[in-house]
Amino acid sequence: MPSIQHVLPKKGNVLVLVGTMKGAFLFCSDASRKRWKQAGPYSIGAPVYSMAYDGRQGRHRLWWAQQSFRWGTSLLSSDDFGRTVTEPETYSVKFPAESGLTLKNIWQLQFPAAEPDTIYCGVEPSALFVSRDTGKSWSPVAGLLNHPHRAKWTPGGGGMCLHTVSPHPTDGNRMIVAMSTGGVYRTSDGGATWQARNQGIRAEFLPEKYPEFGQCVHKIVRHPEKPERLYLQNHWGLYRSDDEGDTWKDIANGVPSDFGFAMAGHPHDPDTAYIVPIESDEYRCTPEGKLRVYRTRNGGKSWEALTRGLPQKDALETVLRDAMAADPLEPAGIYFGTRSGKLYGSHDEGKSWQLIQQGLPAIVCVKTAVVDVEAAHPRGQSGAVERKKTTSRRANPRGVRTRAQ
């Protein structure tokens, strides 16, 4: 087993959270975002498809989902950047027995700004779970669990996953989710009902090209300051919506391929978004062996290739749907990870790129956070393992296990 490294972030540090097929990693830098310290791996050997940082209300809590092919999928958290990890004794995210469904994976974690104690997670098979008590207890959102379309949702190549959860930044009743396949759904009544919102999105693989639902949407990003503005990377197709999903407009103008998975929005400019085009759904590698991020700065009217610092020869890479993210600084940092285990970052909005790390396991998740509180100082030096006695079931009424990493 590899030794586990730790970081102790300071206020203002940037974290890049990296989930891989063999565990989770953290990368930490000051605001310059030029030198990175690596921490992890956590959940060694387990696929980690979702990670997130909850910095609301003074918390500094890391969350990630550990998908053990043996022991099932569980949701873990840490309040000290991975030194000690809390795992529920009984799994907190699970389907009710009467649903006939069993949890395969957790694909997405979201912390709505408008509801500081609420957490959402999108799972496989496609469903949305909610916790109203900062992750202590979870329940499926019934309106989506019992949706009449469910029987016709089918798995894409990655499984039947609900991979995008996008709460409205100010209205707790509104949310967009997306699944492969199934497409886009929106609620405006707090999850009681959900309407398919796929008008204008093509389903290349179906006889009916523009069905009400059934599209294989790969990723959606929403702009926080202009929440009706959405960008969508489809299984063939790039789209923008200016009415929170009511209609979608094709914006694949000047990209080498409109197939792809990953997408990131700009934190400040609603006209700017980033993608990594992939050649086709059969090949699923970067076109022409060139690793290029494409950026639009005009809402998709045109796209430009960003290549400085990225390999432009023999780079047969794949960037998966959750493996791209932006940080909120000015200028924004953009990050992505490849299936070949390379993590790239840009501290200047994509103008230039740095290979932050290579040789990682296949990367499936990249998220960012800015630490806004001083971390609780653990005993010992950075890198030391803090020992914590495993609590007994009786002595721990919350039913959680806390163990040192």
Binding site: F69, R70, S74, T390, R401
Partner: protein, 93 residues
Amino acid sequence: MPVTVRIPSYLTAFADGRNSIVVDAGPVTAGGVLESLWSLYPGLRDRIVDEKGELRQHINIFVDEESIRFASGLATPVSEGSEILIVPAVSGG
């Protein structure tokens, strides 16, 4: 009827560190013994069976030397003095 259950190392964290647990089980099936085990250590259940109560795909349960997959599943009979082994499968990638 005492039955010994052997716990794999990963799961000992959810069994007070124990790798062997004697269950005084009334029922005489593998499933009955496991139900008794869950009542002692609830954290073991979710990691061995799924929401439907079915054995996870990559976990094997042996009653003495017989895999219950090739016997009667959770209904496999257990005799007094039997040993139940919970063994992670040699699968992965």
